[in-house]
């Protein structure tokens, strides 16, 4: 099974747990075919996010999609959330099996 390595992207966003439902809505609007959410904790320029209780939790959202969707989603979350929320986002190329699962909705 061959796939074009440059076609698919893993978009990883780490942000405040408070943002979860709005972030997911935004990603789906951008055409994300699916997502995986993890509860995480760590430290960044907004201090330690210890996940000890409601307001200090972080989430990590992974989306695998095509390059166009990934760039659109990245630009959208940057414009909407970067200024006021603790958030980082990264984009990396990934190889996938069954590419039809990751075409935009």
């Amino acid at each position: 099974m061959s796939v074009n390595k440059t076609d698919y992207r893993l978009l990883t966003i780490i942000t405040e747990a408070a943002l979860e439902s709005r972030l997911i809505d935004a990603l789906e609007q951008c055409g994300a075919p699916g997502y995986t959410i993890m509860d995480v904790r760590g430290k960044g320029d907004r201090g330690v996010r210890s996940a000890g209780w409601d307001q200090s939790g972080n989430i990590r959202v992974d989306v695998v999609c095509d390059e166009v969707t990934a760039n659109r989603a990245l630009a959208h979350v940057r414009d909407r959330f970067y200024e006021n929320y603790a958030m980082i986002a990264t984009l990396s190329p990934v190889e996938v099996l069954r590419p039809e699962k990751f075409s935009p909705r």
């Binding site: 709005r22 210890s50 000890g52 209780w53 409601d54 307001q55 200090s56």
Partner: protein, 313 residues
């Protein structure tokens, strides 16, 4: 000293000493869910025993207090404290709203002294969660510009604390004193133990916010003590007007004195994202919560006893 208070002191101490102690998030969530449901259930069961007609004027009066407290807090923060508009608005909303944890400690304090209180207090607690959030957003945004009221309404009315408090109230009210017997062991008998665990975690959280205060200075710390004292006087006077008993008076004073750390931070994060959550939580959790738990609650009881003897003749 009550053992539950000592659990709080243990949490703060362990946090300051950076002890290897961390309650799993799931435990904290379960404990806070149990607290909210228990308070709701207790209120619902008590309300089921009595007529409802006196409630409406009380609920309206308490709502009014919920709108009024942030109206006092905001100017103090904005002009005296010279804080940014969004920060002042957010902190004012925290202080107009209420802390369920503080309320739980106050009821335990009354119970250990065999002092009764009005059955509708949990309902008033629930009612007080909301108005300050609205006032806070209006201060930050004004009426005209695009606040997403639908998203906000969701955040406020479908947030964990309101859903569980109201849900507990309704279940307790529908089931009545006999109906809740089978679930009493979990919710009522374990209440003190659950509260102790909750306070241990709150101590750890408080300790983690103390460092912020060192950076953001004396004004916030002073506000975190003076605002609850002012609120407690307002609460005591209002309870006097409503004809509450000493216990109810002390609880309304505690509610007016307490600052939210569950419902309001979540709503502010969504509606006023430019407000720095570190500041409001440092004041609410680093200063006001420990102040109320350690000093405020006994003080408010003494004030209620004095005031009811004054107005009682």
């Amino acid at each position: 000293m009550d053992p539950i208070i000592l659990f709080f002191v243990l949490g703060v101490t362990a946090g300051i000493l950076r002890a290897e102690l961390r309650l799993p998030t799931a435990i904290y969530e379960l404990v806070s869910i149990l607290l909210l449901l228990t308070i709701g259930l207790k209120g619902g069961v008590e309300i089921a025993k009595q007529p409802l007609d006196a409630l409406l004027p009380q609920v309206s009066a308490v709502l009014l207090m919920g709108f009024a407290l942030p109206l006092v807090a905001f100017p103090a923060l904005f002009w005296l404290g010279r804080m940014a508009r969004a920060d002042a608005a957010s902190i004012a909303a925290h202080y107009g709203s209420v802390s369920v944890g503080t309320y739980a400690v106050a009821t335990a304090f009354l119970a250990s002294r065999n002092i009764g209180y009005e059955a509708q207090m949990p309902l008033l607690l629930t009612v007080l969660e909301v108005p300050a959030i609205i006032v806070g957003i209006l201060f930050a945004r004004g009426l005209s510009r695009g606040t997403d009221w639908r998203a906000l309404g969701r955040e406020v009315f479908l947030g964990k604390s309101i859903v569980l408090l109201l849900g507990g109230l309704l279940i307790g009210w529908a089931a009545g004193p006999e109906g809740v017997k089978p679930i009493e062991p979990l919710f009522f008998d374990l209440f003190q133990g659950v509260l102790a665990l909750f306070l241990l975690e709150m101590g750890l959280i408080t300790a983690s916010h103390l460092g912020v205060l060192r950076r953001h200075g004396v004004f916030l710390a002073a506000f975190g003590v003076l605002m609850p004292l002012f609120g407690s006087v307002v609460g005591t006077l209002l309870a006097g007007l409503l004809g509450f008993s000493v216990g109810g008076m002390m609880l309304l004073a505690t509610l007016a004195a307490s600052a939210s750390y569950i419902a309001v931070p979540a709503a502010m994060r969504i509606s006023v994202p430019e407000a720095n959550p570190t500041l409001s939580l440092a004041a609410s959790l680093g200063i006001t919560f420990p102040f109320n738990v350690l000093i405020g609650i006994p003080l408010y009881l003494a004030m209620a006893q004095w005031w009811s003897s004054v107005i009682g003749g």
